[in-house]
Every structure is written in structure tokens, then in C-alpha cells.
Amino acid sequence: MSDQKSEFTEGHIVRAYDAELDRLRTLLLEMGGLVVDQIGQAVDAFTEKDRKRTQTVVRREEDVNRYDIEAEELVLNVLAKRQPMGMDLRAIMAITRAVTDLERCGDEAKKIAKIARRRVKDDSEVIEAFSIAAGSMGALAAGLLKSAVEALDEADEEKAIQAAQADARLDAEYKTALRNIHAALISNPSLIEVAADLVIVIKALERIGDHAKNIAKYVVFIVQGKDVRHVKTKALDQEI
């Protein structure tokens, strides 16, 4: 991720203000990095039936929550002490929202890890068959989230919009996987329990894509002050 100094965290007459904003920005990057890794680990734990990794994900979920709490404290303090305005205010709003989205992504990763733990000893063919789909969706979701956080850190609108629009691919894979689960269930209704878990896994990954899309949209807010949260992703190009 970017190690460039940000205009956003620099140049205030009060240098302590710079330091506070810099911590907020670093926190976003650290938390983003952790959550992206959590998603990867959770999906790997599921596809490789790795109990140890499920434990890692569940344990580190607490770290994700700690970042969430620290961000909240930082933002409260900055608002109370500095009364941010202009781009500082927009960036702080965007980071606050992004942290909430990241925290939710962390929850989704934990959800996947718990299912992985439950299915560690399940060697049914269905799980094998869905490992590829889940692996592909997992890589896509983690990649999207990584791009979105980087775009936010760099205030790169083009990168953000690419990330937001790439979510369509994840949605398509989700629909295909869901159809396949339905088909498997129709031919073998006794799979219902496994199938329900599989649906939760792919739904979690699909949700992570949506959170990544949200984060990407905050970039437009930072750069232009335009609220595009409810603008159709396809139409985002016209906003910049």
C-alpha cells in the first residue's frame, strides 16, 4: 500500500493535527490490510479444511474490532478538538464510514471461518466441487477490498470506480454458484445442511464485494464532495 505522504495529513499550522490525521490514515491501511488477510485466510481454511487457520481468523477478529474502536475514538477527538472543515472533514467522514464497512467485512470473514471449522471433517463431494468457486470468489472479494482501500488512501477516483465496477464480476460468480447449489440440492435433497452453509459462505463473499464498492464510492466524496452512495455503479463514470 501507498507509503506516500498524504496532502490530507500534512500542512496544518497545528502539527499535532497532522499527526492525528496521519494516525487515522495509517489505521485505515492497517485495518484494511488485516481484513483483506482475514478474508483470504477464512476462504483458504474453508477450501483446504484447515482448522488452525479457522482459529487464526476467529482470534484476529478481536484485532479488527480494536481498530474499529480506536478509529471511533480518534475521530471523536479530532471532531471535538479541531472542528475539521473542507477536505479534512470529507476525508474524516469517508474514513469513518470505510472503517465501519471494514469491520463488517471482518465479521463476514469470521462467519466463513466458523463454517469452515464446522466442515473440517466433511469430505462430501459437494464441498470439493464448491471449493473452486469459493476460492475464486474469495480472491476476487479480497482483491476488490484491497483496491478500494488503496483508492481511498490515494484519493484515486479512477481506481475507485474500477474497483466499484469490478464488483459486478463477483455478483455474477455469486449467481452462478447459487444456481449450482440449487441444482445440486434438487438432485440430492439430503445435502440441505451443507448447502445452507455453502450459501452463507458465498453470500458473505458477495457482501464483502458490496462493502468494497461502498468504500470505493467514498473516494468520489473525498475528491469532489459528491455523495454517490446511491448512484448506480454503472453510471459512476459520469460523476467524474
Binding site: 496532502e7 496544518h12 499550522i13 493535527y17 479541531r82 472542528q83 472543515m85 477536505m87 484519493a155 464532495g225
Partner: protein
């Protein structure tokens, strides 16, 4: 001659900032690339649908030194407009043009057009006494006359002949004190000296004194700088009420105050009006880099 020097300076600044802008692009993260030089013309919306004041190409000189450069600005009826900017940016100088207070400074010269309801107030034939009744002023330091509370407010209406008799004068004094939110606190001691009131009360007395002559516009030059936060909040609350009946132009060093009380905000920099727009926009998403730097505390 002087103007030529200024334009050379401006050009030099422009070149410097062009280099700065290039450097910024290399590590551009937050914010779009925007010039950090004063713009050729004011950014934002200088016009108003229902203007009280229409100012065009206003220049102010103190002897040979130019303090204000070609300011174009409309001030709307019953709006609160704040003028912000670092010390020496010309915001107070501009405010003082609006009721010809700069006339009191021998070396000051104002050119351009300033129309109040269509009438050019820079015209030398204009009598400034009635002008200053129409465009009242409140200063940084409360300056009540060394007279009673009653006389402080009654003085203006009396010299302008606004009251036919004592009953009418009483009425004006009471209404003005009430509108200034001071009546309750002083109604039992109207004959006591105005200078005996607290700072915040004195400032509200000065506002009552300005209101008493039925002005259209009230100019406020840092009206809360000498007041504590409670007295400041009272004045801000009062400004909110007064805008129903008056136009208010306020110069303030507190950006939070500008954000709280005004509908439009004008940002001055080195004598130029850099940007003027809706207050909400100025403080959340200003268009010019200089405005952004100032409101985010990066200036200097």
C-alpha cells in the same frame, strides 16, 4: 505605477505557485489539483437575486498602497454574509466601504461602484449621515456613549427626527432593546450608564442603538472578539433573529462562527475576493485551494 508593480508581483506569485502545483501533482493524494494563486476573477457566485448592495470593481487605496483589488460582490436582502480571511486580507476594509467609514481615514481612497438599492453611495454628493443610518455598524469593542442606557438608544432616532414625541421615542427605544434581546435585563435601570453593563450586554446595546434608526443593513466588524462564549452565543442567536428584518454583513476571525451564522461566506486573501458561495459549500467543499487551505488551518 503601483498597479503595474502589483501585477508583476502577482505574476511572480503565479509562477511560484505553478511550480508548487507541479510538485503537488507528483504526490497528489487528497484534493484535486487547484491553483494556489489568487484567481483572475472571484470563484463561486458573486451575484444575488435580490441584492441590497451591488459592488463592482471596488478598489481601495491607503495613500499609494492598494488594499482591495477589484472586488465584485452582491449582498442579498435579509441574508447574513460573512467575510473571512487572514489578518490584512482586506475584509474589514471592504466592510467599511459599505457605509463609507473609510472616509474617516484621510489617506483612504475608494473607487469602483457600490450601489445601495441602485444608488451609488460612492458619489461625493451623498450625505453620509443618513447613509450610516441605513447601514449601521457594530464594532469589535463595544462602544456605548457615556450616557444612560436609554439615551444610547434614543440618540440616533432623535437626531434623525424619527420620533414625533416622547411616547414614540420610548416606543422605539423599547422595541430596539427588545429586538437586541436586552430589554428584560435593563428595563428597570434605563437611566443608568450604558458603560456599566457587561461586555456582552454593551455589545447588544450597540446593536440596539444601530437598530433604533431602522437600518436596512447592519455591518458587524468582529462583534464577538471581545466577548466570552456565552455572550458570543447570545449575539449569534440574535443575528439569527435579526436576519428576518435586516441584512447583516459580519467580519469574523472565527470560521465556526461564520459557518454557524451566515448563509453566504466570502473569502478574502491579500486584498482579493477569492471565493464567495453558500456557507455550507465553503466549509465542506470549497472550490479554490486558497479557501481550502485557510478553512482547514493550513494557511501560512
Amino acid at each position: 505605477m503601483e498597479a503595474a508593480t502589483m501585477s508583476r508581483d502577482k505574476k511572480a506569485r503565479s509562477e511560484q505557485s505553478a511550480q508548487a502545483a507541479t510538485r503537488k501533482t507528483a504526490s497528489s493524494l487528497f484534493g484535486t489539483d487547484r491553483s494556489s494563486d489568487v484567481p483572475d476573477s472571484t470563484v463561486g457566485v458573486i451575484t444575488h437575486d435580490d441584492p441590497v448592495f451591488t459592488c463592482r470593481s471596488v478598489d481601495v487605496f491607503y495613500a499609494n498602497k492598494q488594499a482591495i483589488f477589484g472586488v465584485d460582490l452582491d449582498i442579498g436582502r435579509h441574508e447574513v454574509i460573512s467575510m473571512i480571511g487572514p489578518s490584512g486580507c482586506g475584509k474589514s476594509t471592504f466592510l467599511r466601504c459599505l457605509n463609507r467609514m473609510n472616509d474617516t481615514i484621510a489617506i483612504a481612497r475608494v473607487t469602483g461602484r457600490i450601489e445601495l438599492d441602485g444608488q451609488d453611495i460612492l458619489d461625493s454628493r451623498i450625505d453620509v449621515v443618513p447613509l450610516r443610518a441605513r447601514v449601521g455598524m457594530v464594532f469589535q469593542k463595544p462602544n456605548p456613549f457615556p450616557k444612560s442606557i436609554y439615551e444610547n438608544v434614543a440618540y440616533g432616532p432623535r437626531i434623525h427626527g424619527l420620533a414625533r414625541d416622547r411616547v414614540e421615542l420610548d416606543e422605539i427605544v423599547h422595541t430596539s432593546l427588545e429586538r437586541a434581546g436586552l430589554l428584560k435585563e435593563v428595563k428597570d435601570r434605563m437611566d443608568q450608564p450604558g458603560t456599566g453593563l457587561s461586555g456582552g450586554q454593551q455589545q447588544r446595546l450597540c446593536i440596539a442603538r444601530a437598530i433604533a434608526v431602522s437600518p436596512e443593513v447592519i455591518l458587524m466588524d468582529e462583534p464577538c472578539s471581545a466577548l466570552d462564549p456565552i455572550a458570543t452565543a447570545r449575539i449569534e442567536d440574535l443575528i439569527d433573529e435579526l436576519k428576518e428584518n435586516y441584512t447583516i454583513c459580519i467580519v469574523t476571525h472565527s470560521m465556526q462562527q461564520a459557518a454557524r451564522v451566515s448563509q453566504r461566506t466570502a473569502y478574502f486573501h491579500l486584498g482579493y475576493l477569492v471565493e464567495v458561495d453558500e456557507t455550507d459549500k465553503i466549509f465542506t467543499n470549497p472550490s479554490h485551494k486558497l479557501t481550502e487551505d485557510y478553512i482547514t488551518g493550513r494557511f501560512g
